[in-house]
């Protein structure tokens, strides 16, 4: 018999230390969630946590885990070769087909970069389908920068704008110090035929949207991502519901004009 709550077992092929409170697991699986979709990671005995896919690849799945709760804490103790339980993929991700033929602006703050890495990997594989790619990534400090190796690669092929809020010690990326929204404000960006995808702290997204609106972007060009406490991930348990929308099945990616001004 089946159960929608039953997870399947997969093998961890690699554990990559990212920062002090982030690790990345590479898991052997063909689940291959679409960019923006997520999987539910299950640790029997501890619980479950929804984690966005950070890759686009039908052999392995990369999950960036920020250690914040019991489940992510338990995940962080797993090692290469260990088994991990996943169910999914779930959610409505980025509308990759609708984005074809357009310029893309990707804005991420902190671990919000994880789901956007998924779409960058997708773009890498379908580069001719898209036009100019602008990346705006902000982190707290140079130590907090995620996907350091990838960022160096992306720098070569895309319009990369990396920033850190503060740099007390070294700044190996030689990037500007300040909020990523400040960089965004100064950037010259094409408005026509452009879509913006953003993921990160609420404050960062709000501020970015205001800047983009000032630049002449319309709300229906902007895609935001919501973070909520998802339990069942199948549109039932009610925990992630915002005014009738289930973040787990109707999101986590929403077009901004559909969720603008949502109060609870």
């Amino acid at each position: 018999m089946n159960s929608i709550y039953q997870a399947k077992r997969y093998r961890i092929t690699d554990v990559v230390e990212q920062t002090g409170d982030n690790i990345m697991l590479r898991i052997k699986t063909r689940l291959n969630p679409k960019p923006g979709e997520f999987v539910e990671v299950s640790i029997p005995g501890i619980g479950e946590a929804p984690i966005s896919s950070a890759s686009y690849n039908n052999k392995v799945l990369d999950l960036n885990i920020r250690i914040v709760g019991n489940v992510t804490e338990a995940i962080s103790k797993l090692k290469k070769g260990d088994k991990i339980h996943l169910r999914g993929p779930y959610g409505k991700g980025y509308p990759i087909d609708e984005l074809k033929g357009k310029n893309l602006i990707l804005i991420a703050g902190g671990c919000g970069l994880a789901p956007l890495r998924g779409i960058i990997e997708y773009i890498d594989q379908h580069r001719l389908d898209y036009r100019e790619i602008y990346l705006f990534f902000g982190f707290r400090s140079p130590d907090d920068v995620l996907f350091k190796d990838e960022i160096r690669e992306w720098e070569k092929v895309y319009h990369m704008n990396l920033s850190v809020d503060e740099a007390m010690g070294e700044n190996p990326f030689n990037c500007p110090v300040g909020f990523v929204t400040g960089i965004l404000e100064k950037a010259e960006l094409p408005v026509n035929n452009t879509e913006v995808l953003m993921c990160g702290p609420h404050v960062m997204m709000e501020k970015s949207i205001r800047i983009l609106e000032n630049k002449g972007f319309h709300d229906n060009q902007i895609w935001v991502s919501f973070e909520r406490h998802m339990k069942c991930t199948t549109g039932k348990c009610g925990h992630c519901m915002i005014n009738g929308m289930y973040v787990c099945i109707d999101g986590p990616v929403f077009r901004y004009d559909e969720v603008k001004g949502v109060d609870e």
Binding site: G45, I46, G69, N70, E73, A74, K77
Partner: protein, 261 residues
């Protein structure tokens, strides 16, 4: 999933300061499941049941009772320093409870009434304002109850042993009471503090037709003005509600807002 062979057993202590010792007894009365649990932990200090007790460091230290004397305070501070996790176990430890009602009276008068000879109330016996643990040291987790439920101890130990941050039940008594389909006492015109008191007791008192008197202490976001109105409609004056809350909330009564004070 902790396999005892590869992992060191956590050093656990169950200590007590001023109180009736009933909260500790809850743990010892668990029996079967406690014996099973004892295989997974190292109960290094439990003065009530053990002759030989070790000083810290402790991984987990349960403390029942409140701080009412200089000795209590010194012990508590020591245990805090020696413990990774300090758990306030029982309403005395979390709120103040019955020993804490002294603060609502003239302290000198209370001392006169209790002690014929006050000459030894010096040194470590010096009385202090009876206050919950959090008034003196940092507390990691709180489980209230007079006494608390054994299931809350077992659940917390499960979480600790699985390296989890314990999750403590935080819903009003009404939840379990309604789920057990108990006829509502408040609706029946009786005195019941259920809506503003933390549950976890599985509606122990309402099940036997006795209103909740509030032994788990008030919830942080209790709607006290409305509760006073509802109880008043049942003929329960504010003064009585106040007394009930003072009895269990002790020093934390002061935090309940202006409506009740």
């Amino acid at each position: 999933m902790s396999s005892s062979s590869e992992k060191k057993k956590p050093r656990v202590a169950i200590h007590s300061i001023t109180g009736c010792a009933g909260c500790q007894l809850v743990i010892y009365f668990i029996r079967d499941k406690l014996l099973e649990l004892l295989g997974e932990i190292d109960l290094v200090a439990a003065p009530m049941i053990k002759g030989k007790n070790e000083e810290g460091p402790y991984d987990i230290c349960f403390v029942e009772g409140l701080v009412a004397s200089q000795r209590d305070l010194e012990n508590l501070k020591k245990w805090r320093e020696q413990s990774k996790f300090l758990v306030a176990w029982g309403t005395c430890a979390t709120h103040g409870n019955v020993p804490g009602i002294k603060i609502f009276m003239d302290e000198k008068q209370v001392e006169e009434a209790v002690y014929k000879d006050k000459s030894n109330l010096t040194g470590e016996n010096t009385p202090l304002k009876p206050t919950p643990l959090e008034a003196h040291v940092r507390i990691d987790y709180r489980i209230s109850g007079c006494p608390p439920e054994e299931i809350e101890f077992l659940r917390m130990m499960q979480h600790f042993l699985m390296d989890m941050k314990p999750v403590v039940y935080n819903e009003p008594v009404c939840v379990e009471c309604t789920q057990r389909e108990i006829k509502c006492l408040l609706e029946d015109g009786k005195e019941c503090l259920g809506p503003m008191i933390r549950g976890g007791c599985d509606a122990l008192c309402p099940v036997v037709n006795h209103g909740c008197t509030g032994c788990h202490g008030p919830l942080e976001d209790a709607n006290i003005p409305q509760m006073l109105k509802l109880l008043k409609a049942n003929g329960i004056p504010k003064e009585l509600v106040k007394q009930r809350l003072q009895k269990y909330a002790g020093a934390k009564f002061e935090e309940l807002g202006a409506d009740i004070r």
